[in-house]
């Protein structure tokens, strides 16, 4: 390190891109765009129980496990074994890391009652210990939790102040990345104003209780030389440690697959132009009993049928109840549960705070990454928090799932009022609205596609029918009498079917009539042909008769001539005439004359 130290904890001069040390804390590295400033000191401020120590420990453990940087923990709060006990449940084996010379824990328990201040002093032992530990381990990270206890301990706080300033500079010179923690103060950020020395990066942790539900929040107040998210981000202390949940809009960079997947309802797929995009978010909102859960069940059923994993999270019903209810409409999810493709998880919204719900989702999808997730009854979460927080939590759930390419369908109870869903709807890609309409003494369900991003979708209303083979969509009749659904639609369908049958009957009859006429005319045609033939035959007969008579006449003449002894024999001309007559008459009697 070149040691261009000025005042405070500025550390070595940074190049154009500030080098960063990842904290390994999910979300925090995203907000800080890479982690804490490398080779500098960051301040983590929070009241008691806000999670300062855990943040620091996770920073150290991640440094050791993931980034090959041994670390040193200086704690003024608790004995070393107590610290180790506290984080063992998170899977941090501090004692093991110490045995492997990857971690050094310097625990100081200073009791003001046994200390008597007698004049000028310095904190050189702390420097010596740190120096020894850093050198021995080759440490790259140091956490001091919380150094503020030194104030008021030795009488003269101006000396403590000066020593802390010196310590901050010294850590910078050593090139280690450090976190010092501080108690939240009333007037200044920290109780003793140590933010005056630690000026590169300041993170504030907050812990609020609202309606008996606790919410933890983190904010990067300051980060010199680096862009960072400035919002308050909820975080939680889960079974895996400190998890920060970046809200939407930090990164809107999910991949946008063109692939569409089936909703499990053919006609709905058709209305949406072939299904929903993989990795998109679908909101199904509607009043109670409109079939929202059924649509969700179809989606997971279709996913499992494709051999994909699915996750069904219910905030309203128990898994056995869901299985039973869906079986009653012909969707049998049990085989998918048995084969492990489908995981059903249920929890009452009030079981834990919103952040914990979010953590559960994060954990579930990490344990067994699904391709499709259904969040049934997200509005129920309102019982576990207040309105805007619910929206933010749901948004982060969508965010979390979409960022992993998981198609998410959330069902939400509205109160027949589209505007109540507006806050959530902006975060979804497809919004299906289910409505009950009551006409003619019955209630029927209607489905609208309110929006579907990136899709030419149908603007038609469909009637939504729950059959024993699941959900079906049926055209509704819109005419002068208004929209027809349910039995009115059925009546209309019956009427149409009757009319069609009548039309068919008429046509058949007409066809039969025509066939009769044709047969009749063909018979006529045959009769006429017979008559024609008969008349032709008659003509022939008449012709033949005529020749015969001619021949007879000639024969008579000859006979008479012989009888009369005429001296003239019939001449050549007469013989020719005879021959001609024979030719003309055909077989009609010529032979008779020869």
């Amino acid at each position: 390190m070149d040691g261009t130290v000025t005042t405070g904890l500025t550390g070595p001069a940074a190049g154009p891109a500030l080098a960063k040390a990842p904290t390994g804390i999910p979300g925090l590295d995203q907000i800080t765009e890479g982690g804490l400033p490398r080779g500098r000191v960051s301040l983590v401020v929070g009241s008691a129980g806000a999670g300062k120590t855990l943040l620091g420990l996770q920073f150290l453990v991640a440094g050791i496990r993931q980034y090959g940087e041994p670390g040193v923990l200086v704690t003024f709060e608790e004995p070393a074994d107590k610290v180790a006990d506290d984080v063992r449940s998170l899977g941090f084996d501090l004692e093991g890391l110490q045995r492997d010379c990857l971690l050094a824990v310097l625990a100081f328990r200073v009791d003001p009652a046994e200390i008597i201040a007698t004049g000028a002093f310095d904190l050189e032992p702390l420097f010596l210990l740190l120096d020894e530990a850093i050198t021995r381990l080759g440490a790259g990270r140091v956490v001091m939790d919380t150094i503020e206890v030194l104030f008021g301990m030795f009488g003269d706080d101006s000396i403590v102040r000066a020593e802390l300033n010196r310590l901050a500079n010294w850590l910078g010179e050593r090139g280690v990345t450090s976190i010092v923690t501080g108690e939240r103060g009333g007037k200044s950020l920290t109780r003793h104003g140590i933010e005056e020395y630690v000026t590169d990066c300041v993170i504030v942790l907050d812990h609020r209780v609202h309606d008996d539900i606790s919410t933890r929040r983190l904010r990067v107040v300051k980060y010199r030389g680096s862009a960072h998210g400035t919002n308050e981000f909820p975080f939680l202390i889960s079974a895996r440690g400190f998890v920060v949940l970046p809200i939407t809009s930090i990164d809107l960079d999910y991949a946008a697959p063109r692939e569409r997947i089936s909703t499990g309802v053919d006609r709905l797929d058709h209305m949406l132009g072939g299904g929903v995009f993989r990795g998109s978010a679908v909101l199904v909102s509607g009043t109670g009993g409109t079939g929202k859960t059924s649509l969700g069940a179809h989606l997971v059923d279709a996913a499992c049928a494709r051999g994909e994993r699915a996750l069904l999270i219910s905030y309203e019903e128990s898994p056995p109840q869901i299985l039973r209810d869906m079986r009653s409409i012909g969707i049998d999810l049990q085989p998918w549960v048995d084969s492990g493709l489908l995981r059903i998880w249920a929890a009452r919204p009030s079981t834990f705070g919103l952040e914990a719900h979010l953590a559960v989702v994060a954990q579930l999808i990490e344990e067994q990454p699904p391709s499709v997730a259904v969040l049934d009854g997200v509005t129920g979460l309102a019982r576990g928090g207040t309105g805007p927080e619910v929206t933010a939590t749901v948004a982060r759930k969508f965010d979390l799932l979409k960022s992993k390419g998981i198609t998410v369908l959330a069902t939400a109870l509205d109160h027949g009022d589209e505007t109540s869903m507006v806050s959530i709807s902006s975060m979804v890609d497809t919004w299906l609205l289910l409505r009950n309409i009551e006409t003619n003494g019955e209630r029927n369900r209607l489905l609208f596609v309110l929006k579907s991003r990136g899709t030419a979708h149908s603007n038609q209303v469909r009637e939504f029918v729950l059959t024993d083979r699941g959900v079906d969509l049926v055209d509704v009749y819109v005419g002068t009498a208004g929209m027809l659904t349910g039995s009115a639609r059925l009546a209309q369908e019956t009427a149409e079917r009757d009319a069609r049958i009548r039309r068919d009957d008429d046509r058949d009859r007409r066809r039969r009539e025509l066939h009769g006429t044709i047969t009749e005319h063909q018979a006529h045609l045959v009769a006429l042909q017979d008559q024609l033939d008969a008349e032709r035959a008659e003509v022939d007969r008449l012709d033949a008769r005529e020749s015969e008579q001619d021949a007879e006449a000639k024969g008579d003449r000859r006979a008479m001539a012989a009888r009369r002894w005429t001296d003239t024999v019939p001449n050549e001309a007469d013989r020719d005439a005879d021959a001609k007559a024979v030719n003309a008459g055909g077989a009609s009697g010529d032979g008779v004359s020869r």
Binding site: F108, R109, A117, T118, G119, F121, D122, L123, E124, E132
Partner: protein, 117 residues
């Protein structure tokens, strides 16, 4: 200074038989350290002649002793005996506090003793 650089400067059991066992933590020859050593020796000679033992420990030679004995600041004097253990942080220029703390003098009737130093 060698470690542990015990330098017993008096082991007498003059009055009550009580011996003051004192350990002074310093870091090499820093001005505070030097002043503390001088102040402590003078005080002990004045008020506890023959009844004290001073051990000077230089943390620079073995920093790890600082965690063992929970020493954050120097100079620090630890009164190991008589019990209870007490820690005196600073260069010991505040003699009154030191004398009271060492239980060499009872607070109420020490006002005249001021001039003794």
């Amino acid at each position: 200074m060698n470690l542990p650089s015990a330098s017993p400067e008096g082991a007498g059991t003059a009055d009550s038989g009580q011996t003051w066992d004192l350990r002074l933590y310093v870091t090499d020859q820093s001005p505070n350290s030097v002043r503390a050593i001088q102040n402590l020796r003078r005080l002990c000679e004045e008020h506890l002649p023959g009844r004290y033992r001073i051990e000077v420990v230089d943390l620079r030679e073995n920093p790890r002793l600082a965690t063992d004995d929970q020493i954050l600041a120097v100079p620090t004097v630890v009164r190991r005996l008589p019990e209870p253990v007490r820690k005196f942080v600073g260069d010991l220029s505040d003699t009154d506090r030191l004398l009271v703390g060492l239980q060499i003098r009872v607070p109420g009737r020490t006002a005249p003793g001021r001039r003794q130093t």
